[in-house]
Symmetry: C2
Subunit: 377 residues, 2 copies
């Protein structure tokens, strides 16, 4: 059978699907795209068993079929072509010819039945009681992921923390990510749903969504086992992490009474320099806070090198010396760089520190938390 | 003792010297800059024993000294500073303090006597008979290296071919690079020196020079053992490769009588696509040349994939099928991309092919050569 498709339209489609193709996998079959042609619609699928992506395109085709095509090679070939019509000629001997005005390319295809089943969700079997549905602005969802995803854990020992928590509360939709050393808590107040529920979306779904979200609305379906994101012709279905998320609220201190206000960029520049001197295991940087003065210092005993800087701040609490992992401070400041000034809420050298924008927002709340590291005096 | 220097001026100086600092070395002492302060002039040196770099800067200093400072850390710290005055305070306990308006950084220094001797060349001991001196436009030297350096060999088995040949001839200064599979021969006709001599400059000197050459004139000193390049306040001294360069002229065929003329960019686009299909060991791409038609094809038996394209050309010789390593063809075309059309001079499927610009140049000659790979028919 044959079908025709424009090279640039197909390239755009494949560029959206290829993020689901695993680069290293013990199951080589996953390195393929599933091409499904049905009634003049080409739908391309890919999956790594955790997430699956699909998108469709109208094409010119007389018949219906399903085949598996080598994802990376096909995408590279399509990308390398100029804007042209490609005639796919699927032969019965396991070969596909791609014909253009200038050239002819020959690929092998595999039987679609070897491919894992692509989840269809929500479907007729979805339990209506268990199924929830929300609509969210794409930019807001992107913002939530951008500000929180860096804090997800990479340690397989704690699978729940390897994802981002979606928590529906009275106040709105809360996104939480933490690795035990730092935590981000973002509340979107625009989403109100009359329920309380928690879902944990794996890291891979978050990172793929960050590549494709734009300002358009996203429809999200949630069940106990899956979450699906629909944007226009594009769909991502992800398994959820079936674990209980740790009780993050218990680590957020309520009575951090000392407030340190600094210019975000000024502090960030200092921290970048201090990272050069905090290269040992703990990557420790020390904040010595006094009345309106913040001294920041780091020392590398192996290199015999150290650095100290002072910046102006607003502070009227008790003088405190407190240590942090400089690279975690750097992460927090990078993700708050859109705020001119920020507040550190402190209590003591051993208690978690809360970092907030100085100005409250109408539509959201954003809070970051850093655990201190021990200072050896 | 103390000295003062502007952060941005020092950054610029160090950025020129750091390319000589080896990133991995069994001699950690080479990971340092040698700072020499003499009569208000700071001279910074670095060496990897093959090449050495030095450059100078006027500073404010009362005394003279020499110390070794950790190159990467110092450069990173200086780069991270704003435009400011740095006061270096060298203490007798092996510590240097760097003081700026905002901060204080403390580094360890080492005794300069542990550093290898920096060659001073040419010097009083240079044998005048053995010493040659030329001046060359920096852009022309850059052009010579840019067009030829990719063809140098990476195989330690043939040390002579791991460098670029400088050959002084009646016709001018010739640059040759080859790895036995491809060869570049560039003749600069502007340099005329009444001598015949060969010098082989190691790859590392070429790659460092490519980072720093601009349009200004370069003074080059040559001896039997060293070559030195002087640009303004900047100097690179390189050891030469003390081997005999292979007789490259014997591999350049003289009677390749068939001329194939193609559009460089059109052929290059096709080759980039064919590289997707020539992924096996030989990376073979096949050229089938007939009257005014060039068919280019490649096949990957492991993937069961192949590609074929046809482009128009000018050709009136005997029909020939000839194979090349596609990635070597790609290299040649990348380095001739400034030419709209190029000529392939062919003789047979087993003989070296010469590739030339279609138009002769007043000031230089540029020739590339590709060895074919066997076609299994």
């Amino acid at each position: 059978m044959e079908f025709k498709v424009n090279s640039k339209e197909l390239e755009k489609l494949l560029s959206k699907i290829i993020p689901a193709v695993p680069s290293r996998t013990p199951m080589p079959i996953l390195e393929n795209f599933l091409f499904e042609i049905k009634d003049g619609l080409l739908t391309v699928y890919a999956t790594d068993l955790e997430i699956s992506l699909k998108s469709s395109l109208k094409i010119v085709a007389e018949e219906n079929t399903k085949i598996l095509l080598p994802a990376k090679l096909l995408y590279d070939v399509i990308k390398s072509l100029k804007d042209t019509t490609i005639r796919f000629d699927i032969q019965s001997n396991g070969k596909v010819n791609l014909n253009t005005d200038h050239g002819k390319y020959n690929l092998s295809y595999l039987d679609h039945e070897e491919f894992p089943e692509i989840p269809n969700f929500p479907n007729q079997d979805s339990d209506a009681d268990d199924l929830n549905e929300i609509s969210l602005n794409g930019s807001e969802l992107r913002f939530a992921f951008e500000k929180s995803s860096f804090a997800m854990s990479k340690e397989e020992m704690r699978p729940a923390m390897m994802g981002t928590l979606f928590e529906f509360t009275e106040d709105g939709l809360r996104f939480v990510a933490t690795d035990g050393h730092r935590l981000v808590n973002y509340l979107n107040k625009n989403v109100k749903l009359d329920m309380e529920a928690q879902y944990i979306l794996p890291e891979r779904a978050v990172s793929v969504l960050l590549k494709i979200l734009d300002e358009k609305d996203v429809k999200i379906y949630l069940s106990k086992t899956h979450m699906s994101f629909k944007l226009n012709e594009y769909e991502l279905i992800s398994r959820l992490i079936k674990q209980k998320y740790p009780d993050y609220s218990s680590v957020i201190p309520l009575e951090n009474e000392f407030e340190l206000v600094v210019e975000t960029k000024e502090l960030h520049d200092v921290i970048k320099r201090m990272m050069l001197f905090s290269t040992s295991n703990t990557r420790r940087v020390k904040f010595s806070v006094k009345q309106d003065n913040l001294e920041i210092s780091a020392e590398d005993l192996d290199l015999g090198a150290s650095g100290t800087e002072n910046i102006q701040c607003k502070y009227s609490g008790d003088a405190i010396d407190i240590g942090f992992n400089s690279s975690y401070v750097n992460d927090v400041l990078s993700h708050l760089s859109f705020e001119k000034k920020i507040i550190f809420k402190l209590h003591s050298a051993t208690k978690a520190v809360i970092i907030l924008p100085t100005e409250g927002k109408e539509n959201y709340e954003l809070m970051m938390l850093l655990m201190p590291v021990r200072l050896n005096n």
